[in-house]
Amino acid sequence: MHYKRLTILCGHYGSGKTNIAVNMAYDLRNQRDNIAVADLDIVNPYFRTKDSERDFAERGIRLICSDFASSNVDLPSMPADLYSITDDKSLSVILDIGGDDRGAFALGRLRDAILSEGDYDMYMVVNRYRPLTPDAMSTVEVMGEIEAACGIPFTGIINNSNIARETTAQDVLNTVAYAEEVGKISGLPVVCTTVEDRLYDELKDKISPLFSLTLQAKLI
């Protein structure tokens, strides 16, 4: 994928932002040296990019994250080194934003710097199989709420429609029209469809562009 200096991932909670952020970071690391993942989730104390902290360290990816993520301290806190995202222009950053408009409020803090620099993409991560975004209209509604909360306009859509381990290639294909509809109503491009790596080969000739995800979540 092609990356601007800042790649911001927003969406309904549980839409898959964190897994995409982790995989994008690995992809971006192959292209650039000085990169970071910024975890700005103030909503959910679980399933954070911090879970991949060791992997990041091994690959030389910096993690900008609250000290309290994935801990028992259930505080909506921001990283101490938050401003390096916007101050350090040599750094390329994948930003993982908390779910819904409530999560996006945290991003608003950086709005002025992000907009004046103008070197960002902000993607809406959508999953047609999530209960509160079952169709294009409801998804665009959530997009509007997120934009209002953070004050930053989206630049594209990422279709991450899945039903976890039970997802079939057909389940993904069935959501292509939905993602295009979201794009049409919002006037934004669908920049890619993301699928679990096990489905990549089956879909690579059918959906373009397709981005392969290795899931970080540990399942019981």
């Binding site: 104390p45 199989y129 389940d171």
Partner: protein, 353 residues
């Protein structure tokens, strides 16, 4: 198109409650169940229901009391410390024979504890939680699908027996995402001639109350309530058995612990150890019969729990202590992994055969 959607356990509870006809939710946010309230906040206004964030857990449970008195399906949800606050209200609901659904997505304790998953409110849920002689029907889901199905079942049982049903989940169940089918049959709410819905000057007024001034009458109320509990024990006990028929070692586990235990049973079988699992789905009434039956052929039992050993007492009672029962556990928000459970099986079995 797949007929399944991807849901968090907490969302599944909220959506299933709506499917069951619940239009009144009162709660106060607490991790790890906040998504229930968040979901209700988004959904209820769109379907003509009530979502109200109360000023406290105590206020919320008393709002539940009010709606239940009026005969409508109603719920609240919280996590361990919040459920303790609701204790008085739970007792009043029981004393007034009111149907309601309470969700406890447990976290590590005691006290404020932590936000990681736990099953340490087993005693609180199955033995009362509030004061007085009473029970709640306690349902323990082990998948997101069951979070949805048992929520519907909980409302039905609550109405049928005029009492509180509790969904006793843990933080993992609340937070994990799995595919769910919401194609669930719902029994409509029965007639509630006792409800305080206004007499319209056409009948005597109904009274919903837990105060009783005459001890002889209060005793009779308790006797009658326990007759009802007996019917529930006979008719509503739910459990799942996994490879128990020929098992030498029978595990007892519910919720997330049962999923871990199932993996361990499979691993033990691969090693030639005949292991099995009884998974109580109702924690009250506790499924005594399958444990009693298993005690006939099993050599030993292992209770796998995310607490310091609470259900183990029910396993001892149900097996009438005919066989040794040992505990395999983690506490404070930690989950036993299949390896720990397997080691426990091997140890009890006297080493690898």
């Amino acid at each position: 198109m797949s007929d399944k959607i991807l849901m968090k356990g907490n969302e599944a509870i909220a959506e299933a409650a709506i499917i069951a006809g619940c239009r009144h939710y009162f709660g106060y946010p607490i991790t790890p169940q906040t998504e229930i309230a968040a979901y209700m906040a988004k959904k209820m206004p769109k379907i003509g229901g009530t979502f109200l964030q109360a000023e406290s857990e105590i206020a919320a449970i008393n709002m539940v009391y009010g709606v239940a008195s009026a005969g409508k399906r109603v719920m609240t949800s919280s996590s361990s410390p919040g459920v303790s606050l609701k204790g008085e209200g739970l007792s009043y609901l029981a004393g007034s024979d009111l149907p309601s659904l309470i969700v406890n997505v447990q976290r590590g304790g005691p006290g404020l504890g932590g936000i990681q998953p736990s099953q340490s409110d087993y005693f609180q849920s199955t033995r009362g939680g509030g004061h007085g002689d009473y029970h709640m029907i306690v349902l323990a889901p082990a998948s997101v699908q069951e979070m949805a199905e048992l929520t519907v079942k909980g409302f039905e049982l609550a109405d049928a027996y005029r009492m509180t049903s509790m969904i006793l989940a843990d933080g993992t169940m609340g937070q994990m995402m799995e595919p769910v089918s919401l194609d669930i049959d719902v029994k409509p709410s029965p007639e509630k001639p006792w409800a305080t819905t206004g007499t319209k000057m056409a009948r005597e007024h109904n009274i919903v109350n837990s105060l009783s001034l005459v001890p002889e009458e209060l005793e009779q109320l308790n006797f009658k309530r326990y007759e009802r509990y007996k019917v529930i024990e006979e008719n509503e006990t739910m459990f799942e058995e996994y490879k128990v028929e020929d098992a030498d070692i029978v595990l007892a586990a519910f919720g997330i612990a049962a999923r871990v235990s199932k993996n361990a049973v499979d691993e033990a079988r691969k090693m030639g150890i005949k292991a099995g699992l009884i998974r109580p789905i109702t924690l009250w009434p506790f499924p005594k019969a399958p444990f009693k039956a298993a005690a006939g052929h099993a050599k030993a039992f292992i209770s796998v729990e995310l607490n310091m050993g609470q259900m183990i007492e029910d396993v001892l009672l149900a097996t009438e202590s005919k066989r040794p029962v040992t505990l395999c556990n983690r506490a404070g928000g930690m989950i036993p992994d299949p390896k720990q459970v397997l080691n426990s099986i091997i140890e009890v079995n006297g080493g690898i055969q």
